[in-house]
Chain length 285, copies 2
């Protein structure tokens, strides 16, 4: 595995791979890898000639009072994990190489970025789409792999790719969970043991919603209320949002139709965690 | 030459060309071709395996009171001209194919879009960068050709490509002029014979500025005043801006250094025309 720190070096590698006709699979990350990231890399390995993973904690997608400074960074821990998962090129650029002095170009997806995490984190998705557009320009991937845990991010990226006619296939991959159900996230490292226990309420309330919907509940408000009530029972948890939306436009719904997303953002102590449930009920409901 | 009306059809052609290892040269236009456009196509022909020209009058880059509806369109006139200039694929998409219902993604270059034409045409460059990003996504060109007549547009596109790490080389090409010096523009078709005569004041004032700078004038305000005074002598002309800027950031300068751009936007009757002069004085001044 090659570790590449500079944009120009990466360009050379990509250009060579293109010349050789290799397909390129790309896994963008902010590092501090966990099994979720590695599942993306393994899938990319199976489907492409060259697998590129980026590790870049993107300052543009953090708000002023968010955890940009504290976000965990450990390349010596991440590199062997990436290599074992089949990554060929680990791209770890510096901030000054990605956003040099005078940087002035931004990519913005409107509408679906105004709700959910976009409502609580103004500018967040503009940072995400800008850096992903840059990384796509650099890596020129045939396929890019994103986890469904960040469901809104995935929809926003899909929308950007569709709208800007970007020549890349976005491959959504299932959320990977700890044995007890907690969705894997680099931010789980922030949790104290008590908070780690409290964080289980996200998955637990989603499983309760899933059961209710499977049992025939179609009133979205009843689902919202059940989920919110369960989270409120956990003293360390504070709800940012509980959304029952259509899973595509991410607009809140009243009645659950063929497709539904239940999405949560919850603060556990100082740590903001997200999780979601997506169901296709076509033919069932 | 193939004439292609649909995004999906173009995708197939590009994908095939890429498989064959052909380099792709791209000339984006709004049609109503003139010798300026054709010079770009001929240059692209000489440097690439496949030459794609687009003709798309992009609604996103027109303001509400601008000439989107009136902009001249004539594919039966343009197609043979494009073919004779060496174009292989003429891409003429419809608005609904480029901006389908629910379209929501925009590319924006800040700072250098706030001055000159950006100041008089709010949203114009956002429309330009968005459509060019889309066309680059579709055509995946190795090289894209732009005329220096639209000097700010060229700088904005170069900035977008640099900032977003787009894998395309931007090739600036010299302004092509009529025998009497008027810069070629599709909008020249709007001019009455008297206006056509009056429009010569743009080039005449730029040539005067060039002479003055060559003769050693380094006071940018004197140049601005001389150019503006000459334009004001023409009764049909109304100045939008006279800029003496550094040619890179497009900021107004006081003293002329190694590099200078004199840029004009002038209304001749109802028709807004632009022109510019770019000089490299390194070693001279």
């Amino acid at each position: 595995m090659q570790i590449v720190h500079y944009v120009e070096e990466l360009r050379g590698i990509i250009s060579e791979a293109k010349k050789q006709g290799k397909s390129i699979g790309f896994v963008p990350t902010m590092g501090y890898l966990h099994e979720g990231h590695l599942s993306l890399a393994r899938r990319a390995r199976g489907e492409n000639g060259l697998v590129v993973m980026s590790i870049f904690v993107n300052p543009l997608q953090f708000g002023v009072n968010e955890d940009y400074e504290d976000y965990p960074r450990d390349l010596s821990r991440d590199a062997p994990m990436a290599e074992a998962a089949g990554v060929d090129v680990l791209f770890c650029p510096g901030v000054a190489d990605m956003y040099p002095r005078g940087y002035a170009t931004f990519v913005e997806v409107e509408e679906i970025t105004a709700v959910l995490c976009g409502a609580s984190r103004p500018g967040h998705f503009r940072g995400v789409t800008t850096v992903v557009a840059k990384l796509f320009g650099l890596v020129q991937p045939d396929r890019a792999y994103f986890g469904q845990k960040d469901a809104q991010q995935l929809r926003v990226i899909e929308k950007m790719v569709e709208d800007l006619n970007m020549p890349v296939e976005i491959v959504p991959c299932p959320t990977v969970r700890e044995l007890d159900g907690l969705a894997m996230s680099s931010r789980n490292a922030y949790l104290s043991p008590r908070e780690r226990e409290a964080a289980l309420v996200l998955n637990r309330s989603l499983r309760r919603a899933e059961e209710a919907i499977r049992a025939g509940e179609r009133d979205a408000n009843r689902i919202r209320e059940q989920v919110a009530a369960m989270i409120r029972e956990e003293p360390l948890a504070e709800i940012d949002y509980v959304s029952v939306n259509d899973g595509v436009t991410l607009r809140e719904i009243e009645r659950i139709g063929d497709r539904v997303m239940v999405a949560l953002a919850v603060r556990i102590g100082m740590t903001r965690l997200i999780d979601n449930l997506q169901m296709n009920l076509g033919g069932e409901g």
